[in-house]
């Protein structure tokens, strides 16, 4: 299984662990992640204005690069996933955006949403299969009670992302089960952590994160896992790391027994 891979800005700096553990785990699972050359930042948030074109172009470049290689495009960060999947939908279904973006890009062959965008979790669920993953687990995280924290970007708007049930998702819980741990379902797992607002409104974000933490703790979670660097930052920052928050890829690497091998790379 060979995929084009879009890491995104934060995975090369503050969220190295999300990236390094993902690549190590992918290798252990026989998945090849080919990083797109010269990828550019997706912008972090999807430009909602229907007249915004330039802000969508970096995603189109990544999508087109994957198309040229005839590969599906894998993302790791929730925000990149959200932005690129939605831009892809625009390129597929919104004639005006497609025309104007292509006019600007002057590609050899116009891009019209041909690439399939997959979050790494989707690769695990739909391509590898959680049953198959379970078989490859070497160090099952038995006994660990882990709460999945989805946040907003992975799930909504559900019609466009078609990722999971936006109100009662199961993908990360199924993942947690596959690596041998026990998922803890709590109601705030799909509520927003405050997102980018934490830059200027720290208190607002703090309040939200505290609610999330308290809810997860109340239902018995010992730790939280997420796919988003911003969620991780907000949760840690606002609640003083009441419960540890780790990337899902770190759990995966641990379960597959490859965590130690790459630990140094993370700390670099």
């Amino acid at each position: 299984m060979k995929y084009s891979y879009y890491p995104g800005c934060t995975l090369r700096t503050k969220a190295k662990d999300l990236d390094v553990y993902a690549r190590a785990s992918a290798a252990a699972l026989g998945i090849e992640l080919e990083e797109i050359e010269d990828w550019q930042c997706c912008g972090g948030v999807y430009p909602l204005g229907s007249d915004e074109i330039a802000t969508k172009l970096s995603s189109v470049r990544a999508l087109n690069a994957a198309k040229e290689k005839e590969q599906d495009l894998v993302t790791m960060c929730s925000a990149c996933h959200h932005v690129i999947k939605r831009v892809n939908d625009d390129m597929k279904n919104v004639e005006d955006i497609r025309t104007r973006a292509n006019n600007y890009m002057e590609l050899e062959e116009p891009y019209a949403g041909e690439t399939e965008v997959l979050h790494f979790l989707e690769v695990l669920r739909d391509r590898v299969g959680f049953d198959e993953l379970k078989k490859k687990v070497k160090n099952p995280l038995t006994g660990k009670k882990i709460g999945a924290y989805y946040g907003c970007l992975l799930l909504r708007p559900s019609k466009l992302l078609s990722f999971d049930d936006p109100e009662n998702p199961a993908i990360i819980e199924d993942f947690i089960r596959a690596i041998g741990a026990e998922p803890v379902v709590y109601p705030y797992r799909n509520e927003c952590c405050g997102g980018y607002i934490s830059l200027k409104e720290k208190d607002l974000s703090k309040g939200m994160c505290e609610k999330i933490m308290a809810s997860a703790e109340g239902f018995g979670a010992e730790m939280l896992t997420t796919a988003c660097p911003l969620c991780l930052y907000n949760l840690n920052k606002s609640t003083g790391a009441k419960l540890p928050v780790v990337y899902f890829t770190e759990l995966l690497a641990e379960a597959l027994g490859v965590k130690e091998e790459v630990k140094e790379e993370v700390q670099k």
Partner: protein
Amino acid sequence: MSSEKKQAELIKEISGVNPLKCMKCGKCSATCPSYNEMDIKPHQFVSYVINEDIESLVNSKSLWKCLSCFACVERCPRDVKPGKLIDAARQVVVRQKDQNYLLADEIPELLDPELPQQLLVSAFRRYRR
């Protein structure tokens, strides 16, 4: 066309939202995690656009409190999507000269060692042009 009317039309165009579809059930306000911080509440965005009171809307605190978390978009039973309206209003503001909500000079004091790039990038996208 008055300038407020023009701006109302612009907001409708940028957002792609038809505010007349709203049945005023209040589910957006019931669902909004930033509700208490907002002076104009999510369900009111719609009436401000319908009544073309854009002046109040663009000067509201709410503009900068919306998280773009799409909870209102997802749960709206009438496909109105108040979150898109507020984002369009924000666009109307930041596209004007010198109306950025976030200035480069502010950044250093907002930083801390763990702060992910993603946060800066996103904030830049939402807060300024």
